[in-house]
Symmetry: C2
Subunit: 446 residues, 2 copies
Amino acid sequence: MRLSRGFLPTLKEVPAEAQIASHRLMLRAGLVRQTSAGIYAWLPVGLRVLRNIEQIVREEQNAIGAQEVLMPTVQSSELWKRSGRYDAYGPEMLRIRDRQDRELLYGPTNEEMITDLFGQVIKSYRELPQALYHVQWKFRDELRPRFGVMRGREFFMKDAYSFDASYEDAVATYRRMMLAYLRTFQRLGVRAVPMKADTGPIGGDLSHEFLVLAPTGESGVFFDAALEEQDWLHENVDIADHASLEVFFNGVTRFYAATDEMHDETSWEDVPADRRREGRGIEVGHIFYFGTKYTESMGISVSGPDGAQFFPEMGSYGIGVSRLVGAVIEASHDEAGIIWPDSVAPYRAAILSLKPGDEAVDALCERLYGAAPDAFLYDDRSERAGVKFNDADLMGHPWQMIVGPRGAKEGKVELKRRATGERFELTAEDALAKVLGTDGAGKDAA
Amino acid sequence: MRLSRGFLPTLKEVPAEAQIASHRLMLRAGLVRQTSAGIYAWLPVGLRVLRNIEQIVREEQNAIGAQEVLMPTVQSSELWKRSGRYDAYGPEMLRIRDRQDRELLYGPTNEEMITDLFGQVIKSYRELPQALYHVQWKFRDELRPRFGVMRGREFFMKDAYSFDASYEDAVATYRRMMLAYLRTFQRLGVRAVPMKADTGPIGGDLSHEFLVLAPTGESGVFFDAALEEQDWLHENVDIADHASLEVFFNGVTRFYAATDEMHDETSWEDVPADRRREGRGIEVGHIFYFGTKYTESMGISVSGPDGAQFFPEMGSYGIGVSRLVGAVIEASHDEAGIIWPDSVAPYRAAILSLKPGDEAVDALCERLYGAAPDAFLYDDRSERAGVKFNDADLMGHPWQMIVGPRGAKEGKVELKRRATGERFELTAEDALAKVLGTDGAGKDAA
């Protein structure tokens, strides 16, 4: 994209309403604009980040055999009356009456609808297990929406639901999902630590929240440093094998990790002092086993091997996709602006023309831009170099390709790595190879 | 996807509520399920088609320089009061009150919101033109939702909005969009004929609907056969050049085309008799120039070259993405089921195992499936061959790879082209090459 043509409004002033870094930076870098309290429009650059996150989430769901569907945003109250939650849900549910005075609602979550769909389609234990997910807009009518997309009212969420024939199978599904979540967050360039969460009346130990570490997090967190160090992408787990999943799960849960709500001082003191990590975290995911709560209340059963009907065991698994845009920024920024992890960055690089109109500069910039127009944001504006440097740092592209008149004459580019500030003087070809990861070093080395 | 594991409920019975072919076939082939009146959940196969259509629409919008944003589904009534449409819109607008008793609505369209966003960001004629689009769920509270996703209440739509500095520029944008639409529909494998539409108080000739020809269409259509024959993908138009766009536009609009609403018998009789085509059509797109209607009513101006403020000229451009799933089926099906055009098909081929459990059959099926698991639906169920043939015809994959015990022993596959019924006896390699388009013939030949 050529910045002169783009719908990319960067702001110099710090918006008054924004209390935390990610909210300020998302407004300043032109990622979103608020359209009503807690409701945002995504501008082109913000949307690219949202889609990158969504796609990584999707790939890791598919990798464990979950199937993607898409449920509507508007639901009938009937379903929620069947589960008993219609009256219980409270004022965060946005209730609607249509022109025929039927009670509808804007879905805050989809346990009821997916259980009903499952019941329409799946009739026998032979068709189990099933894991279904969708990535869809949800609405929760927060009394005080704040922190930008981190606690908005209309938000984008991946929610998955699983149906198993037995408790043992449901546990395996839960563990598979935990692995998918750890891999998802690692690919997003953030570390999210799984913490035991409240299971309420269900009991057991099958509820975990995933928290991204950031000083502005809403929860205090206490965890063993071992949980930060693991490489989940290369963890060798056979997801079809219950025993392998158990080894993996025990490998995660043997380390202490709790939010302040669940914190237990006695167990904490068992963690070696040099491995104790305290901080704050932002919840970006939650996995939860809840047994037959919905299948039973909604009367959804399937036939078993003996012909008798039984209620499948369920779990639900959420990732806050729009919230993650803010959480990634909270975890990865500095005074100058955002520092995008490579995997979610809207563009691989900014091309900064320090002298638009200079023949050599224009020619070199066009050559760079032409090599991968969709990967680069070309700052072709007639602005001072300082403005361009500041905007590029603010927007947080992983790389900056800086083209000035002196270098351009020799075909040279100054390459800057946003995260480290490292600078390289390279030929255009070498710069492109490094930025696009075609130099053999790949993304890992970058 | 292995059919035995998939969430793909095909139905033998014809659902009673479905009056038209696409609705019946979408239910029978397991593409969607209704969750409330006029509101649908998209099951895995239906969602794949929806995404394929969305992606083609997106690519053609990007190709003419439109930028993608994403506006929320829920809007504030304030915006609509500014344009004067809040009271005028009528009962099709789904009106909502939140917990603080503020008036919200589920967006039926986005002229107001995009004009407001534009006004926040764009201040000078130098930043024009701008064309912005999004693909988002909308809601129109139809009194009598019917025909499945063709006239649903919650529907998925691409809507684009353009802002130009002058009438001449706005006309060029309009023509560019017409080209993008013709290319989009051609790529989707349907012929959509542009027909002059009512411009209301705006006047002029800059309003066209695009209708897919199908016997169940809601409008009668009259058009010159020349409009069906053109290859828009290879039409040579320089989209940056006003004169080239004019030549293109005149080349389209010189041919008679009108819905029954706009039909004029006198002009119709000027069309040579052998080129007169009458039929019915389904509206799948609409492009519309409306000048300064919204910029003026909402007070959104930018500064001109002389420093004076002026109101940008606007147009809006819609494509019904979810409706197109139905429209494509209306235009492309037979007694046995759907016939997907290659470009939107959920899978390239079904693999039909005629004898699961037979060693040679299983091995060959696995080999075929392993070559491109994401491109194939592998019918590995223990069902009779007849059931599999019927389901494959019903679901409408462009190809069927039929594997029986006799052929499997020789490594042979029977390949069936769904659209024509042609059959080929081929080695596994040749069958894969033909189905995946790697045999040099490509998709066009298929």
